[in-house]
């Protein structure tokens, strides 16, 4: 095979030399008929080169036919006609476009050039990143694999000839164009203006020397499904996956391994791929990036051997990478430079917190410190959820958990962190003290329940020995000087700074601050359960909340945290109607502060953020069975649950869009009072 090929290549070299002469002749002779040299014009020579290129690669281009399968995939009518593939090894491996098999045919047949009878082929593996499918024909050793054009020789502007075998078995179909761009679709593809369509998807894009630049596939910069990009067929915007890249990944495909886009688990702040600095905004829990130690605010400086200055360059550097590949990432953190090798994955699993099933004892702050000081730390158990992992492991109220997953536990926050970083279903040893005994049991964590226990006593807080001075209790209004705005607050009359309180931030609906109504129903609850209620007022009470108000709500919250003793695990933002919709926005914006969202008759309007163990959030969505919003609230609950957030959905019987009635409020209060559950 190599001999004739070399001869032709030489011929083409000679042709190009001729072309050069002709061009020069052209320029001097102001383009009079340029046939003087050997009777052939520039066009003749080009034409000859196209045909020779097609003839050279022809033996590697096969016809593929399918039988059976779906007649429709989504909106797209699937074709039944023959398609094209390219031989990539002498022993029967053929690469083609995944588009040719989206109908999931029952049988695939491959017909080699110059052979009468097609032979059965089977799908070996699929590349879901570059939309390629590898086929295998058995019992062949004599096939001619296509030669790949080295990637560094591919230049924009060079001739590119798209070949297919859909029309005719004997002669491949030809469409001529140029290479329009390289490294398109985040570094995955060559772009060409040759006509690319279902009649040549899977076929080769070749250069004039008959070397394969790439395999023709439909691709779209946005869409990722198999048929994305088909709408651009024959438009002059066609794509081909470089054959050199396919050969590099061929061994993995041959082993039957499906390839997927490689994910790292970082996200950037909005602000555009083009302008944005590559500053990591979030690192997903349990992602390769997190395991490699990347942190929010790190600046990506390098990926493999490529310097990174913009967010788009990160996408370019990672676009062609597969799950399982290791990339070298260099980040800057302050003055430090950190190198990490990160193994990409195909799927980022949503973070889900584990659940033990206890409420911790709420010790007075001083006492808790004292116990820790004498080595009697751990977490006292105040309440055990029925049927929870803690109940199953035989824990009792008043036991003290001292170790979890072999790590000593000094306080509730620490235990909560350890448990939340363990997934539901995982088992961990847990050591607890009961009286003088110390026992170790194995607990299998569960998911945080989506129900509120019917009976749950509040932790009582004794009155203070001496009323704290200069701290307002009861119902009062507070001016925030920075904002020149005010919020009202309701602090238990017997406020005792030795204990930690829950905090509920209420966001009123537009046109009604509900101040009197809220006081009416919540004052007693707050006294009982040790909760502080505050309610900022919208800048324009009639028009309601605007996104800018989030800062004011946050500052009002911080104002309370400064003055009073508040448990950081029990800070809830609560809203009704459009105040509830705003509550979601406030909580997602200030995840470092809020641990719960209690929304009455309000759906989620914006795309929720990913769940994260650093910023645990729980949700309580209340609606009436006659609430016109009920369906969207149900959808919101499902959406949040799919992100693995704990969500309680309460549908109040015989109730519409009104603020929930008293018995529903009792459950809402129990939920808010149990946010420190572990």
């Amino acid at each position: 095979m190599s001999r004739p090929r070399r001869v032709v290549v030489l011929d083409i070299c000679r042709t190009t030399a001729l072309v050069a002469v002709l061009l020069v002749a052209c320029l001097f002779a102001v383009c009079r008929p340029a046939s003087a040299q050997d009777g052939a014009s520039v066009e003749d020579l080009e034409e000859r080169a196209f045909k020779q290129a097609a003839a050279l690669v022809g033996p590697s281009v096969v016809r593929i036919q399918t039988v059976g399968g779906l007649d429709r995939v989504g909106q797209l009518l699937t074709g039944t006609g023959p398609t094209t593939g390219v031989i990539v090894s002498s022993d029967g491996y053929i690469i083609s476009s995944s588009f040719n098999f989206i109908a999931m045919p029952a049988t695939i047949l491959v017909q080699f050039p110059n052979e009468e009878q097609p032979v059965p082929a089977k799908v070996v593996a699929t590349d879901h990143s570059k939309m390629l499918t590898l086929l295998k024909v058995d019992g062949r050793e004599d096939l001619v694999p296509a030669t790949a054009a080295p990637k560094d020789t591919i230049r924009v502007g060079q001739w590119a000839i798209a070949l297919g075998r859909a029309f005719d078995v004997a002669v491949p179909s030809i469409s001529v164009g140029i290479v329009s761009a390289t490294d398109r679709i985040w570094g995955k593809a060559i772009q060409t203006d040759a006509k690319v369509s279902p009649v040549n998807y899977g076929g080769p894009l070749v250069d004039v020397e008959g070397r394969v630049l790439g395999i023709l596939v439909p691709l779209s910069p946005q869409g990722t499904e198999a048929a994305a990009g088909v709408e651009w067929y024959d438009s002059g915007i066609g794509f081909a996956i470089p054959l050199a890249d396919i050969y590099a990944a061929l061994d993995r495909l041959k082993q039957g391994e499906d390839l997927h886009p490689g994910l790292m688990g970082i996200s950037f702040k909005g602000g555009g791929l083009l302008g944005g600095d590559p500053v990591i905004d979030r690192v997903r829990a349990d992602s390769p990036a997190e395991r490699a130690g990347l942190k929010a605010q790190d600046v990506i400086a390098r990926i493999d051997d490529r310097d990174i200055r913009r967010q788009a360059e990160v996408k370019h550097a990672l676009g062609g990478k597969y799950a399982g590949e290791i990339v070298g990432v260099t980040v800057r953190r302050g003055d430090e430079t950190i190198d990490a090798n990160i193994t990409l994955v195909d799927k980022l699993v949503a973070y889900e917190s584990g659940f033990l099933g206890i409420l911790p004892v709420r010790e007075p702050i001083e006492e808790a410190h004292g116990l820790q000081a004498v080595g009697l730390g751990g977490v006292g158990v105040r309440y055990i959820y029925p049927d929870s992992p803690a109940a199953k492991a035989g824990l009792l109220e008043r036991d003290r958990i001292v170790k979890f997953a072999d790590k000593p536990v000094t306080g509730a926050a620490e235990l909560a962190d350890l448990v939340s970083r363990t997934r539901p279903g995982e088992k961990s040893p847990l050591t607890f003290r009961r009286g003088e005994d110390e026992r170790t049991v194995e607990v299998e964590l569960a998911a945080v329940p989506n129900l509120v226990p019917a009976e749950m006593l509040s932790a009582t807080i004794p009155p203070p020995e001496k009323a704290p001075e200069a701290l307002k209790t009861g119902h009062h209004t507070v001016e925030l000087a920075d904002h020149m705005r005010s919020y009202w607050a309701c602090v238990p009359d017997q406020y005792n700074p030795a204990y930690r309180y829950g905090l509920m931030v209420f966001l009123h609906p537009k046109n009604d601050t509900m101040e009197a109504d809220m006081l009416d129903v919540w004052k007693t609850v707050c006294e009982q359960r040790g909760m502080i209620l505050i309610a900022p007022r919208a800048a324009d009470i009639v028009a309601g909340w605007t996104p800018n108000d989030a800062e004011f709500v946050k500052d009002a919250t911080d104002d309370v945290l400064k003055k009073y003793s508040v448990d950081p695990e029990r800070i809830v933002v609560h809203g009704y109607a459009d105040g509830g919709e705003f509550a979601f926005g406030v909580a997602f914006k200030h995840r470092e502060t809020y641990r719960g969202v209690l929304a009455a008759s309000a759906p989620v309007r914006e795309r929720p953020e990913e769940n994260h163990p650093e910023f645990r959030l729980q949700f309580y969505l209340a609606t009436g069975d006659k609430d016109p919003q009920r369906q969207t609230i149900q959808t919101s609950a499902n959406g949040l649950r799919s992100l693995k957030y704990p969500v309680v959905l309460s549908v109040i019987p015989d109730w519409d869009h009104k603020y929930p009635p008293l018995d529903a409020i009792a459950e809402m209060a129990r939920w808010a009072d149990s946010l420190d559950r572990i």
């Binding site: 290549v9 083409i12 070299c13 190009t16 072309v19 050069a20 061009l23 052209c26 383009c31 008929p33 340029a34 014009s41 520039v42 066009e43 080009e46 034409e47 045909k51 097609a54 036919q65 039988v67 059976g68 399968g69 007649d71 797209l76 009518l77 699937t78 074709g79 039944t80 006609g81 023959p82 398609t83 109908a103 029952a106 049988t107 047949l109 009878q117 097609p118 032979v119 059965p120 020789t153 230049r155 502007g157 060079q158 798209a162 859909a166 005719d168 002669v171 491949p172 179909s173 030809i174 469409s175 001529v176 140029i178 040759a194 006509k195 369509s197 009649v199 004039v208 020397e209 024959d234």
Partner: protein
């Protein structure tokens, strides 16, 4: 070799820069010069809502005979024809060749002595990969004395539109030129496909969707097919229609006639699996067995049970039925005689 490649790519770039200015213009320029005056714009008087009321034609006689595609544009007997220099004439439909979708118009005015294609001398052929030029009144972009639009491309394939029955609703049977330029647009039908060196290759067909790939196809009917009827109509003013083949055959063959019981046709593309074989039938004698998947009937791929039924329907007594079936991953070929059906 890499040296050669580098040099070559560099040259290609130079090429592209000079392409439009010089290279294509070389010999193609003359072709374009001589072809444009022979291509006309045709306007129908009405046009149905949503359908174009214009198309393209080409002059085939000095007296003003125009070959064009048969379409609804010609529904009224009188149409307007505009030459490339802006002259406008009334024309009437003289005759049509329905199997080729060909119609011949005649400009009513006499003694014009117009430039035209000489079918005997100007006809040529092209191979796959040859560069071609397409001339048409696509999308009516040419108005008045503007000549029609010219596109360039290569012959992508030579292909039989009706190689598989039911693929297209076209009367024409035979090979067409498939082109890699988007030649078949609204109003393009009746335009011409030319070789670079000025040979008339074919007439651009109507807009068609390729049922195999669900894509639009760009094609032209070869001039060799058109020459004889054009000559006949120009000479005599009428066309004697060839006899239509008998389409409805009451004695159509069914799978059961060969002793084959196929699986129930439940989905659109039920693969043609054999469900059962009647004892002592031709199928049984040929060794066919349940679960065989019929892939080919007389070299034609069977996508489904429906395909198989249709294809068997075209058999005639005395034919040989050649089946290729897939059995346990292997392809097996069997032949069955097609016996006369019992009355």
């Amino acid at each position: 070799m890499s040296n050669c490649t580098a040099r070559h790519t560099g040259l290609t770039l130079v090429f592209l820069l000079t392409l439009s200015a010089s290279a294509i213009a070389q010999s193609a320029a003359e072709t374009i010069q001589s072809t444009l005056p022979k291509v006309v714009k045709i306007f129908g008087s009405g046009g149905i809502r949503g359908l174009a009321s214009y198309s393209t034609g080409f002059l085939v006689s000095a007296d003003g005979h125009i070959a064009t595609i048969w379409s609804h544009v010609l529904d009224q007997d009188d149409v307007a024809v505009v030459l490339n220099d802006g002259r406008r004439y009334e024309a009437k439909v003289l005759a049509a060749e329905p199997q080729l979708d060909l119609a011949i118009l005649k400009i009513k005015e006499e003694g014009l002595n117009l430039p035209h294609f000489n079918m005997a001398e100007d006809a040529g052929t092209a191979a796959v990969g040859d560069r071609v030029l397409a001339f048409s009144n696509m999308f009516k972009v040419a108005t008045g004395d503007e000549p029609v639009s010219v596109l360039h491309g290569v012959v992508s394939a030579k292909w039989d539109l009706t190689a598989r029955r039911g693929r297209f609703e076209v009367p024409y049977q035979g090979e067409v030129y498939v082109v890699d330029a988007i030649t078949n647009n609204s109003g393009s039908g009746g335009g011409v496909l030319m070789s670079r060196d000025g040979k008339l290759l074919g007439m651009i067909g109507k807009e068609l969707r390729n049922a195999e790939s669900n894509t639009w196809i760009n094609y032209a009917v070869p001039v060799q097919e058109l020459a004889e009827p054009i000559a006949q109509i120009v000479e005599t003013g009428v066309y004697v229609q060839r006899e239509k083949p008998d389409e409805e055959n009451p004695g159509r063959y069914r799978p059961l006639d060969f002793g084959l019981v196929m699986v129930p046709d439940v989905v659109f593309r039920t693969p043609a699996y054999v469900d059962a074989v009647l004892p002592n039938s031709p199928a049984a004698k040929a060794g066919l067995a349940p679960d065989d998947l019929v892939l080919f009937v007389n070299e034609e791929l069977m996508q489904s049970v429906r395909d198989l039924r249709n294809t068997l329907g075209y058999l005639e007594a005395g034919d040989t039925l050649r089946l290729i079936v897939q059995r346990e991953g292997r392809l097996v070929t069997v032949e069955l005689p097609v016996e006369r059906k019992a009355e």
